[in-house]
Point group: C2
Chain length 336, copies 2
């Protein structure tokens, strides 16, 4: 029979994490294993801090999410927040709330998935906590990154006339989740959509490049979907916005899936959050710098709309005499 | 009918937290409401980071834990970690995983309990996250404090011959929890034991004073009980230890309760973790400085044992020809 996490003590589980950690960097004065971690701040940088939880049954389903993907996604959602701020990832703390019946092999697989993504972003685990859950598995990750003061990008700097850009493509993770649900296990993570859902790549490098070159007047990550992101950016900046439905960079295989499965491609694309792309507001005069950053970053960027004086947040469908505007849905949903 | 948290969006719930926050300090460049918080590190200090989760049904029972006590305890367990490191609290991040059926008045009460304790320690909420729980309420708190490099106190500096001291008194929170369980609701939080369980006071100021005066060769917080703390300190320092059963500062009303309810006073005192006291190892020559810190800090200190060359961790009962040593229990329990 396979061993369960409930067969081990907290310190035995921590030891299994510790033996997978690379050597601690010099700036970590005290690492995993004491009451708290002690780290040296980076010179001439500000600290960027964020926390996000992944909850079983809400954000993932163990039936079709491999352990490595659970760990990957738990860190990715946080890296995406750092990316939006233009920060360089530095360290994370893991707070794990685990059902005693969870196989310890899955625990290890989850840790390995998280550590693999952390290593690629040169992020170190500085500490954490393990508690027992009488219910769902909860993985709470706190991340810390660094940024120069004049390179911080927030949600609130957009002005009327700024153009709105989206990185990469949208809809893939939503379609991927639907595919996985449809055919638990066998959809195969070779499919581009399922893979995007399971192993999203937050735009960390692009976010840093954009911040260093100060191309964005405002930036927000799309972990709750494009519609939500536009609403938040517009609200924080005190502007309105128009999003062009025809301009959205919908992932082709996602579009094919949506069209073939009950349609409503636009709504699913606007509300799907798991792509972890970024939304940027860009002053028209920064367009050339943006092109340069796009080239350097190797990330496609699509202009999807613009900021307006009028405070409404609208979705524009069609063009010319066929143009119709309606309120952009979403942005006020119940917590997820 | 009372409103439930599920009736609100995440941003509405966040707004209810925001309106209770004091003005953000100058060092917080970006606070609650963006993708991440941005803070200026404190000059010539290291950052001390810790995270701990409070899980309903594991660490507290809503039946007899008032909302304010849930919030208080969620922060206290983390402040105790900072206290053990000698750190000055600075900021916290709140990650809340909430059942939709939780009354919003209890949500607000919990936040107020947490913020009241935060305010007393001049700690600011820098950000957080709210997610839905399909099961128990989980409150995960990340704290950050600061410390001078030469004042860091860890678990690993004890040497044979160092004396072991405990702050305050032990057993009160364990007895308080038993009292509350016995008589849900009406045990009254006037009782010293119930109050200690519901509103523990982590030894933050004492921890700072001890660090500044460098009285401890090692320090650990007792959030998992004295036996666990002694084991951890001994293991990290590579020493053994002897704890004198007769010397333990058992809270008198807790002792009376234990004696009157199935006895086994010693075991319950050794394993009870919720008192949030500190265990310090002190070199004999630092004894005078320790007395001075004790006087300044206004916290009673009790010598409970000493560190030994022999690696065993023992409990010594009786004295003279009646002395009997046995292994100190605990320290390797399943995760809680």
């Amino acid at each position: 029979m396979s061993k369960l996490v409930g067969d081990f003590s907290e310190r035995e589980l921590i030891a299994r994490i510790q033996q997978r950690l690379p050597q601690a960097p010099r700036w970590m004065a005290v690492g995993v294993g004491d009451d708290a971690a002690v780290v040296e701040p980076e010179r001439n940088r500000l600290d960027v801090l964020s926390v996000d939880a992944l909850v079983e049954g809400v954000h993932f389903d163990r039936a079709f999410t491999p352990p490595a993907a659970i760990g990957h996604r738990a860190l990715a959602v946080n890296l995406s927040d750092l990316a939006a701020m233009g920060a360089t990832p530095r360290l994370c703390l893991l707070s794990l709330v685990l059902p005693a019946s969870w196989p310890v092999a899955d625990f290890e697989g989850t840790i390995e998935g998280l550590l693999a993504l952390a290593a690629r972003h040169r992020m170190h685990v500085a500490g954490g906590n393990i508690a027992r859950s009488p219910g769902p598995l909860v993985i709470d990750v706190t991340v810390s990154g660094t940024v120069k003061r004049r390179q911080i990008s927030t949600r609130s700097g957009a002005r009327p006339g700024d153009e709105l850009y989206v990185t990469g493509s949208l809809g893939a993770a939503t379609a991927g989740l639907e595919m996985l649900r449809d055919d638990a296990g066998s959809a195969g993570d070779h499919d581009v959509c399922a893979r995007r859902y399971l192993y999203p790549e937050p735009r960390v490098r692009f976010g840093q490049l954009a911040a260093r070159n100060r191309v964005a007047s405002a930036c927000v990550d799309l972990s709750d979907g494009l519609a939500d992101g536009v609403h938040r950016l517009a609200e924080a900046s005190g502007v309105g916005a128009i999003v062009h439905a025809d301009a959205l960079p919908i992932e082709p295989s996602a579009r094919a899936w949506f069209d073939g499965h009950s349609g409503d491609t636009l709504t699913r694309t606007l509300s799907g959050g798991d792509d972890y792309e970024l939304l940027l507001a860009v002053r028209p005069r920064a367009r050339r710098r943006l092109a340069e950053v796009t080239r350097l970053g190797g990330v496609p960027l699509t202009r999807v709309g613009m900021c307006t004086t009028e405070r409404a947040v609208l979705l524009r469908c069609g063009s010319g005499s066929q143009t119709a505007d309606r309120d952009l849905p979403g942005g006020y949903g119940h917590f997820r």
